[in-house]
Symmetry: C2
Subunit: 376 residues, 2 copies
Amino acid sequence: MLIEGGIDYNRLCQVFGSKLITNDLLQRFEKLTGHNAPIDPALKRGLFYSHRDFEVILDTFEKKGSDSFYLYTGRGPSSPSLHLGHLIPFRFTAYLQKAFDCCVVIQITDDEKLLHRSLSEEQIEFNMQENIKDIIACGFNPQKTFIFSDMAYIHHMYRNILRIQQLVTNSQVKAIFGVTDSDNIGKTMFPAIQAAPCFSTSFLTVLGTQPRMCLVPCGIDQDPYFRMTRDVTTRLQQQKPALLHSKFLPSLQGFDAKMSGSIESGAIYLEDKDEEVREKIFKYAFSGGRMTKKEHRMLGGETERDVAFQYLKVFLTDDKRLEEIKTKYESGEMMTSELKDICVKVLQAILLEHRQRKACVTREVVEQFMKIRILS
Amino acid sequence: MLIEGGIDYNRLCQVFGSKLITNDLLQRFEKLTGHNAPIDPALKRGLFYSHRDFEVILDTFEKKGSDSFYLYTGRGPSSPSLHLGHLIPFRFTAYLQKAFDCCVVIQITDDEKLLHRSLSEEQIEFNMQENIKDIIACGFNPQKTFIFSDMAYIHHMYRNILRIQQLVTNSQVKAIFGVTDSDNIGKTMFPAIQAAPCFSTSFLTVLGTQPRMCLVPCGIDQDPYFRMTRDVTTRLQQQKPALLHSKFLPSLQGFDAKMSGSIESGAIYLEDKDEEVREKIFKYAFSGGRMTKKEHRMLGGETERDVAFQYLKVFLTDDKRLEEIKTKYESGEMMTSELKDICVKVLQAILLEHRQRKACVTREVVEQFMKIRILS
């Protein structure tokens, strides 16, 4: 089912002109990479559901190996704390890195936050340091991952930024990103800065001089940036970046909004304590259960609308157990409280593991990831 | 006389809200700096005729010395050859450096040329190298001058660029610079890059961390960039850059246009051979002489309209000789051919000296000027 919480993901795919990820494509991917890492739930259960040119990445990988492309993802350091929704692209990218054994570049757009002016420069710096620790804790390979702040790395990308800016008009950013005349000029030029890491020549001292293709795992809402980028790459006679699009992780309140950091009660934060996770899931998580116990036993719960179940779908790796929960809940055998309890325990375990990993990320580790060096 | 060739310089001054350089100001300047260098013809004869906050620079210089401010000028490397008109701001800035014994930063906007797309990247690089040699040949102090390419130096200025971009709207650049929706987004953001060197914090590793005021000698047509910058500095609670505005050097055809590199016959290039200079002055330089010899002897020539005389006014340092030529020409005693001959010889001598100086500018000298280092 592709219509979730008012978002018709199938239609987005059609409108944007991207392709649905088919079973054939998934099987081919699994055949090529399964020996490195078992296929991720986010992929096999359809959270990542759409793509552009992913088959070209597989061709390249098959023919030329993992040094013929790289992964690119990023983060705007708007707050010091990440929530579960933020975790998904990073965990998924770290998984893809393991599956392909390839290089990853991660852009921290500290410059964009400065353009928005709501945060002080010190706050942005602090957020960035905290965010990077969380990102590293997602399990990236230190030998093959480069994390950079735009502020510190801009000169390496500047030639590409200019090439992109030169090919994008003010009209285009108005149409694509809703920029208006009363917005500041930084907002107008910024899409070029998010586009530049799609060119491997932005990383001559990181990825080497051999041209590489780029694969961007991102939320479907980020697609406009990369459609613009793909248009520019074509005109510069360079290879277009490939994309893998995810749906949104629903907020606690349900599918009507993606999990957003701006609504406190809508998100589970990575540093939420065990009791907070329990409270949030039990208090706020929209339930697919029925109004009365009797009705629930008779009709069963609706897993598609149940937020706790949807979180399990993303974070519970055990296929058999997930299937069992689904059957029991839909048949009415399992009550909402039981489902929520399972969800709480799975999330608590994930957060615990994440916090433990993060505790190992010292300042030295951060510096190592951010050092400009040729990735091996 | 302030109306020259259709340009009412006095009115420009009023409209822009800048101040005319008064005799009192000139005398104060001469008193403060005359022991370092005799006052430049470009200043005492009114080519530089308007200013903003120049008296603040003099206050600062008097109270805190030459380390309390710096000079900023620049060049867009649109062609490999400079003409006489290009020479003026650089010669004048080199003179100011000598008079104040202060630091100078010179921005080469190779990035802007890339945004305009008419030149290849190789051509821009070549132009830049040639232009820098010409600039250095104007006599800058190697201990106190930093020449930088935006492409290479951008990361040092980026924080200030963002602060500026954040405070300037798309509407403003449309109104000030005539940018339209069909222009590229690089053109929209570019004014911030020309503004950033007005902040001494763009040069922490060149000018040190102590804040300094900035003085920009420039053509009056560049004033809009710096009015925008002054507006931004106020809002950032930083000191506004001071300005010295010059009129345009007339083209050979006269005052209707400033000397432009795009009309071959309108400009004398720094590498023009002696015969070419003679031919251009005799063939193209608009004359203030009369139609017939008889009429000229009777009415005299008009020095205000005579291009050869105007060039002498800028480039002939000897006051007495200039006055003598003026008297003789205006009385009809001196014919146009004689005036042009004097002009040709003065220009030839200047170009010869320039070429000799340029010949000494090796690649090592260029590298020395461009090296990021604390100026002494």
